[in-house]
Every structure is written in structure tokens, then in C-alpha cells.
């Protein structure tokens, strides 16, 4: 079997084995949940409840505001305690809706019965998806309803369902594919009917062939689906690299996937679409892998707004001291300043590191080994970029394509001199963005 892939990239150890066999388990919520008004790309949601209001699981508690925004729904039965500033997993403290969980009333969301959607026009389905608060669940948390509204002048040739899950450690998408293949495919079918592509691809890395087989097992029901095995390589799940691997087409610099006729959606998002469209279940919970240096690495079906602290306790705690908590995978995830940070719609996992794993290596001068040049999936020259950024020559860095850097971390990972290349590029990008504003 020939595996599809892109040029460049790295092979970090996967550590998937830690949590891959742990079945998705619904967890009890903590005493309080915190729902950030900003947990998606775009304008923050606007609260629509009053203090001391009783809220029900699945109830809309904040509405979309502005052009690019989605509503929020309560993940629990409880009482609205007001808006507070709470540590956000992407850094800083952000405004959040605080809900005290009613421990007497813990029954899960009552899903409506499977409804017939065959006569729903696409616009209606898109508005259901928007009202259900669905965003991309692979990490970027981009509002899905917005993405589904493909400009009429752009024809989508390939819909790619992203099951690559190329970040080490994370297994939430893997578990979903193993446990809910048919449901995911029904969600994909909804996307297919809206976007009307020529081809639909289910793309999964070769280290998850069992998941690929599970998904393939549904092919009699979904004969339009193509199943593609991808080479296990980071960052295979990155949108641009995935499109390149499957279609051989490159998203133009500064462009979007639909510029090349591609539409990518994560498997978790497809499942959320299925549940929202068929059962009127909004997005208020998601699967979160809790792994690394904890006793029982797990895949928890977690109410949005659950603190990382609560999740770590549910694994029966860390082994020894917690030195670093990463929101997301170790390649692109964000180190947390506060253990009270909470799960958002984009949290696919948290990784706990001990002293040894979190050890920072001291940088030394570049020896020009060229490993970063070799691995950069965007074919940039990290060695040159770094030099120009150090000299604060941002124009030159821009010319050399620093704005194309997607901060995948491959260059920093491979650098034998431990130079924080990715971080420098991130800083340079921010500076360039601020200048152009």
C-alpha cells in the first residue's frame, strides 16, 4: 500500500500507546465550569442569561455576535454565577461564564430522536450548525458554519476529512474513529451534501490502520467515500500538508484551502455536525485526551469548561510532580501558567510533563547542519530567517516567507543546537502583523 504524504517533516516518538486503548469515558463535571466567551476564532459570544438563572444542559447561554461568531451552550445543569476573569488555555485571563454545577441533577443531555433531514435545504443545515455552536475541533476552533459557506466562485473538488492526528500523544480523534465510525461518516455525508465536492477523502495516518479499517467498514453505506492511508509523519495533519498529500495541490501563499478546491474538516467536527443536525445536540462536550505523566492516561468525554485540574485528578493524579501542563500536543500546544485553565471547544488533549520531560535545553550557536532546512514543510530557510530576525530585518524575513511559517515546531524540534527557531518566527510574524495593521 502506497502511503500519501508531503515533503519535509519530522518523526517524533508518538506516545499514542499511553492512551490509545482507553475507551472514551463520560466524566462527571467538577463543582464549577467556566465557559470562555472567546473560545473560537472570531468575535466572542454574548451572554444572554441573568445572574442566578438556572441553566439546563444544552441550553444556549451566549449568542453569536458579529459576522464570525458562534453561540455557547451550557454543558451542565446548574446556576449561572456571573462573568469572571479566568485563566485561558491560550494565555492570560479571559472573560468566562461561571456555572455552579447542580450535583443533584446530573442526567446527561436528552437527545431528540433521529430526525429526517432529507428535505432540509443546505441553508437550514448551515444555520443548525451555527446555532449548535460548532467550530473546528482539531484545534483552530474556526466556526464551521462559516467555512461551509463556500463562495459561489470557488468550486470544491475535494473534501478531506482529517483523521491524521499527527501530534504525538493525542488519541481523541483515534478513539472517535474506533468507536463512532458510522456517526462520523453520517456527519461527513452532511458536509458532502452542502459542499458538493467531486471526491470525499477520509485521511488517516498509517499508525492508526485499525481506525482506517473501522472507517472503511462503513463503506457499503457511504460508497462515495475514498479512504487514504497517510505516512506517519509530523505535521501530516496540517491543513496545507494534508491537501498536498491527498491532491498534490498547494494552497497558494496567503490563500485558503478553497483557493485550491479543497475543504478540510476534522473527524471530531464531523461527529459534532452529525449530533447537531440529527439530534439537535449542541456542542457542549468533547473528547479530551489526558496523557503524559499521569497514572491512567485517558480519553474523557468532557463538559466544555472543565478545569485541567479536575481532569488530572480523574486520572488518579500525576506520577510525581507536575512540571508542565500542555494544552494540545507537545509540538504546537501551549504550556499552561495555571492548572485552573479550562477545556474549550478546541482542546483535543492535555499532556502532563515531569521534571525530566520538561527540561529545557540551552541554545548554542547554529552549526549550519541544515536539518531545519531539510524538514521545514513550508520549504522555508529557518537558518536565514533566524539571522534576519535577529538583526530585526523584518522586511527581509517577510520576503523569505516568514509569514508562511505555520509554527509547526519541526525546525525547533530537530535543531541540534536547541535554537528556539519557531518562537522567533512567531514573534516576527506578530511584529509584521502589527505593522501592517
Amino acid at each position: 500500500m502506497s502511503l500519501l504524504t508531503f515533503k519535509g517533516g519530522i518523526h517524533p516518538p508518538g506516545y499514542k500507546y499511553l492512551s490509545k486503548d482507553s475507551k472514551i469515558k463520560r466524566i462527571d463535571p467538577p463543582d464549577f465550569v467556566y465557559l470562555y466567551l472567546s473560545q473560537h476564532t472570531g468575535v466572542p459570544s454574548k451572554p444572554i442569561i441573568e445572574k442566578k438563572d438556572e441553566v439546563e444542559i444544552g441550553q444556549k447561554i451566549a449568542e453569536a455576535s458579529g459576522k464570525l461568531s458562534v453561540p455557547l451552550h451550557s454543558p451542565v445543569n446548574g446556576t449561572y454565577m456571573g462573568r469572571v476573569m479566568h485563566p485561558h488555555p491560550l494565555g492570560g485571563r479571559k472573560e468566562a461564564i461561571k456555572i455552579k454545577v447542580n450535583k443533584e441533577k446530573t442526567e446527561p443531555f436528552k437527545a431528540k430522536t433521529h430526525r429526517d433531514i432529507s428535505d432540509f435545504p443546505p441553508q437550514k443545515i448551515i444555520s443548525i450548525i451555527k446555532e449548535s455552536g460548532i467550530v473546528g475541533m482539531g484545534g483552530a476552533a474556526f466556526p464551521t458554519y462559516f467555512k461551509l459557506q463556500v463562495p459561489p466562485n470557488k468550486k470544491i473538488k475535494d473534501v478531506i476529512i482529517n483523521g491524521a492526528e499527527c501530534e504525538p500523544y493525542l488519541t481523541s480523534d483515534y478513539r472517535l474513529m474506533i468507536e463512532k465510525p458510522e456517526e462520523i461518516m453520517k456527519g461527513v455525508d452532511i458536509i458532502r451534501k452542502i459542499v458538493k465536492p467531486k471526491n470525499v477523502w477520509i485521511a488517516i495516518e498509517a499508525n492508526k490502520l485499525d481506525a482506517l479499517e473501522k472507517m472503511k467498514g462503513t463503506s457499503s453505506l457511504f460508497p462515495w467515500a475514498n479512504f487514504a492511508a497517510l505516512k506517519t509523519k509530523y505535521p501530516q495533519g496540517s491543513e496545507k500538508q494534508l491537501i498536498d498529500a491527498i491532491t498534490g495541490r498547494e494552497v497558494p501563499e496567503g490563500g485558503l484551502p478553497f483557493d485550491t478546491g479543497a475543504y478540510v474538516q476534522n473527524v471530531g467536527t464531523a461527529l459534532a455536525i452529525y449530533e447537531a443536525v440529527y439530534f439537535e445536540k449542541p456542542l457542549f462536550e468533547r473528547v479530551v485526551t489526558v496523557t503524559g505523566n499521569v497514572r491512567h492516561q485517558s480519553n474523557f468525554l468532557t463538559p466544555i469548561g472543565t478545569s485541567f485540574k479536575h481532569l488530572i485528578e480523574l486520572t488518579e493524579g500525576p506520577i510525581g510532580e507536575i512540571v508542565k501542563i500542555i494544552n494540545g500536543g507537545p509540538m504546537m500546544g501551549i504550556a499552561q501558567a495555571d492548572i485552573e485553565s479550562c477545556v474549550t471547544k478546541g482542546t483535543s488533549g492535555i499532556v502532563i510533563q515531569n521534571q525530566k520531560e520538561a527540561l529545557e535545553k540551552k541554545p548554542s550557536p547554529c552549526i549550519r547542519c541544515g536539518a531545519c532546512v531539510d524538514r521545514c514543510p513550508m520549504r522555508l530557510l529557518p537558518t536565514e530567517l533566524y539571522k534576519y530576525i535577529e538583526m530585526n530585518e523584518l522586511e527581509k524575513a517577510k520576503e523569505l516567507g516568514v509569514t508562511s511559517c505555520m509554527e509547526c515546531g519541526s525546525c525547533s524540534y530537530i535543531c541540534p543546537a536547541n535554537i528556539p527557531l519557531t518562537q522567533q518566527f512567531k514573534i516576527a510574524k506578530n511584529k509584521i502583523n502589527r505593522k501592517s495593521e
Binding site: P13, M331, Q353, I367, G370, M378, L400, N418, P420, T422
Partner: protein, 327 residues
């Protein structure tokens, strides 16, 4: 307190130290063989050379209040390579001076590891050749097994005091060329039964060491294949055209083509970072080497060919930029 640091939160196991010490290991087969061929003199000269390189680096970093980086092994490599580039008959101070020059003038003054433009060992060798030409080009010792010229004793007849390349330069008579092209000669060069610099004896052992570096990706085979391949091809064309009397196989096995092409041209710091740049670097270096050997004043062209190419590295990096994804 949780630790905060930018992503990525995992790194590969590679390190500058690992790469440098691997190069040292890769030079060991040739070093061990040099001791066998030339006796403890080779051992002593190499040790002095390494000691001088490491000490120079330490003293420079200490006096200029820089971080002491001698443990990364790069000065050790320079020390070994300087010794590999001199005759086993050299006085003890020759490698000491060469290494000190290489480390202080060629490496540290330019900013230390990673910042030097020229390969320190090659520039050190060039410095020694310019300063003590007699010691660098006419002071050879016969190996323990084999002869200085590599030819059987009975064929020597008054040419005993020359290495094959010198022989070719001073006396390119047809009979000499015939002996140099003989399979006896080529075998002697390949296995190392010929006189010459300490580290330039056995092509086989150098290849074994380099293969180890290629497999670990600590040296790019493209540079070596480009360099040695272009020496072979270009000198082959000149042989065919009658511009040089010796076979291309003799060219790549003699002198420093193997040592230079495998270990000095592949020096990461002084070679391009792009794959295309590395091909050009190697191929152009090989051509320059043949030009010097065939038409130049020196019998040997390896050092200068690589030093010249070192100067073009920034340019090669520039012209061999890859097309950015989506651009």
C-alpha cells in the same frame, strides 16, 4: 509553579556535541591505521595537534570571557584533521602551530563555532604550507608497510623521496604515469600502503568512517559524491583529451581527495545548507581541485579547492533557495 516555555515541548535527541564526537569517531579507523603505518610518531603528532587546538580554544574563550565550549568536540576534530594533513616526519611544533592558527585566527576571531567562513583545518593547513613549504611538501616518511611512492621497491630507482602526486608533478614521464596507473598502485592507494600525510593513506578506512557519518546524517553524502565524482569525471575527461597522463581512479584515490571530500568539504559550518547548494559546492570544488592538480603549481589541489568553495557558501545558499510552499 508550572513551567512555561514556547512550543515545541519535545525535542529530538540530536545535539551539536553528538554530531562533533561522531565525526571524531568516524576519523578513528584512519587514525588507528596511521599509527600502524607510521608508528608512535603519528600518535604523538596527532595528540599534540588536538591538545593545541583544544587549549587554544579554551584560552581564547577564557581571555575573551566567552562561554567555554571545548566539550562540544569541534576543536578536537580540527586538531585531528590538522595532524592528518601533515607528514609523519613533521617536527612536533608544526601541528601545534597549525592548530593554534586554525582555532584562533580561522575559527574564534570569526565568532567561534558556527561563524567561521573557512574550514579551520584546511585554512590551518594552507597557513602551514605557505609558512613552511619545505616541511609541508618535501619531508615524507615511508610507511611501515609499503613504500613512500606506493610503487614496489624495484621500480623506485632514485624516485624514492616522492609521494605519487609529487612524482607526477615533477616527473610526468610516461613510465611514471604507467606505474601510477597500474592496478598495483591503485590497490596500494585504496588500502593504504603509500606514503603521504598522516590521515591520507587508506581510502578504504576513510570511506568506512564517512559511511558512518552519512548513515547518521551527520555529513551530507551529496557533497562527497559531488566532490569526488566531479574529480573523477573531470579528470577522466582530461585524461581522455590527453591533458593528464593518469587515470581518474588514481586522481580520486591519491592525495587528499578522500580525506577532503569526505571529511572537510562536508564540514557543516562551512558548506551550504540547501541540498542543491551542496551539490554545486561539491561538484565545483572537485573541478577546481583537478584544475590545480593538472595546471596549477602545486601537486595537490584539495585544500585550496575547498577553501575557495567555502567563500561561495553564502552565495550558494542564496541561489539555491527552494520555492516556498504555495509561492
Amino acid at each position: 509553579m508550572l513551567r512555561i516555555s514556547p512550543a515545541p515541548h519535545i525535542t529530538s535527541k540530536e545535539s551539536t556535541q553528538k554530531i562533533m564526537w561522531a565525526v571524531v569517531i568516524a576519523l578513528m579507523p584512519a587514525f588507528a591505521y596511521a599509527i600502524y603505518l607510521f608508528g608512535q610518531r603519528a600518535l604523538l603528532l596527532t595528540l599534540i595537534s588536538v591538545l593545541s587546538a583544544v587549549l587554544s580554544e579554551y584560552l581564547f574563550q577564557k581571555t575573551t570571557k566567552r562561554e567555554i565550549r571545548i566539550s562540544n568536540g569541534s576543536a578536537v576534530i580540527t586538531g585531528i584533521l590538522i595532524a592528518f594533513n601533515i607528514s609523519p616526519n613533521s617536527p612536533w611544533w608544526l601541528p601545534a602551530v597549525g592548530s593554534a592558527f586554525a582555532i584562533i585566527v580561522v575559527k574564534q576571531i570569526f565568532g567561534g563555532i558556527g561563524y567561521n567562513i573557512f574550514n579551520p583545518a584546511l585554512a590551518g593547513r594552507a597557513f602551514l604550507t605557505a609558512s613552511w613549504p619545505g616541511l609541508m611538501a618535501g619531508n615524507w616518511a615511508a610507511p611501515f608497510s609499503g613504500t613512500l611512492s606506493g610503487l614496489p621497491t624495484k621500480a623506485l630507482d632514485g624516485i624514492a623521496q616522492a609521494t605519487p602526486l609529487t612524482l607526477l608533478k615533477v616527473n610526468p614521464a610516461e613510465t611514471i604515469a604507467q606505474s601510477l596507473n597500474s592496478s598495483y598502485m591503485l590497490k596500494a592507494l585504496f588500502f593504504g600502503k603509500v606514503g603521504g600525510c598522516i590521515g591520507e593513506t587508506s581510502a578504504l578506512l576513510l570511506l568506512i568512517g564517512a559511511l558512518y557519518l552519512f548513515l547518521r546524517k551527520f555529513a551530507d553524502w551529496r557533497i562527497s559524491v559531488g566532490y569526488i565524482g566531479s574529480v573523477f569525471l573531470f579528470s577522466g575527461i582530461l585524461y581522455y583529451l590527453g591533458k593528464t597522463p593518469v587515470l581518474p581512479l588514481f586522481q580520486i584515490l591519491s592525495g587528499g581527495v578522500m580525506l577532503g571530500g569526505l571529511f572537510m568539504a562536508t564540514d557543516m559550518v562551512t558548506s551550504p545548507v540547501t541540498i542543491k547548494g551542496r551539490w554545486i559546492f561539491g561538484i565545483a570544488g572537485g573541478i577546481i581541485c583537478v584544475l590545480i592538480r593538472v595546471w596549477g603549481g602545486y601537486p595537490e589541489g584539495v585544500s585550496y579547492s575547498i577553501l575557495i568553495m567555502n567563500m561561495f557558501v553564502p552565495l550558494l545558499d542564496k541561489i539555491s533557495e527552494k520555492r516556498i510552499f504555495g509561492r
